[in-house]
Amino acid sequence: MKFVSTNVLRLSCLAALQAAASANSTLDVRATITPFTPSPSLDPDTLVPPTFSGYVPVIVDVAPKFTYGWDSALSVWFAKLGPANLAFMYFADDVVDPTQIIVGVFVKGGDDDFLWGSYLLDQPRQFAAEWDAAPVTDVLYTIAQNFLQ
């Protein structure tokens, strides 16, 4: 029989997520120019990173790597990567190949090598000139209130 969980167990899951993140020395936020469909079974090794000069993965090595809570406006749980004021930016520091279009982002564990998550940018970001930039904000999970039934 499926039991309806209480918030005690739901919070346990979110704490477990945070602990698993903390067990990694880093979580690496990487961009890709490969079109893909976000999925739990996505193979991150198929995702080609940008090759323009200046691109580097964003390394999250601060604790806690995930914060979590309840969004009362949306009535969902959330787990957000990095400290609240963390902002991500990919930018080119040289003349770049205009075919370099960042379409999405994925997060890999620095130690567990897990695919922590992936998503598509709302708008693919073309890198065609020096200092073109792609801000990446709100790397997070949105978690249904009843995700654990």
Partner: protein, 150 residues
């Protein structure tokens, strides 16, 4: 973002082994029958229901330590399931004391009786009114909603 399967598995495994909730090494949770109408939900509290009180209705203790986790091959849901204790989650009426009694569902709660972990309503309330009647919960499962984390 869409989590990878490894993360989804890790969360389920962590819950199944959480010593602060359903998987303590000592004083494991208990499953009790409920004799009052109630509504399972995220904020269900001990005071929201009354446990059954027929003679053999004593709540059944879970097995201490890590519980089971896995993937339902049909629904593909990740499942955390309490290990089934010897004799099962099964209550047999042996006395007419406090009968008749209607059982509405079951609740899993901590050993000290202060924190509810989950609850289920039976498909239909079960009227117990005679010796030999049985009330049984086949499994105590928590399922992770497909696409519940995005």
């Amino acid at each position: 973002m869409i989590p990878g399967n490894a993360i989804l598995n890790a969360i389920a495994e962590a819950l199944a082994a959480d010593p602060s909730t359903i998987a303590p090494l000592l004083n494991p949770p208990k499953l009790g029958l409920v004799k009052t109408a109630f509504v399972p939900g995220p904020n269900l509290a001990i005071t929201d229901y009354t446990l059954a009180d027929f003679v053999t209705s004593t709540p059944i203790g879970a097995i201490a330590g890590a519980q089971n986790s896995g993937i339902n091959p049909v629904t593909l849901e990740r499942i955390v399931e309490m290990k089934i204790p010897a004799g099962g989650w099964r209550w047999v009426v042996t006395s007419t004391t406090n009968l008749p009694q209607t059982i509405y569902g079951a609740v899993l709660y901590d050993n000290g009786g202060t924190t509810v972990y989950g609850a289920v309503l039976f498909n239909a309330p079960i009227l117990l009114d005679a010796v030999g009647q049985v009330c049984e919960v086949d499994a105590v499962q928590f399922a992770f909603l497909i696409n519940g984390i995005q």
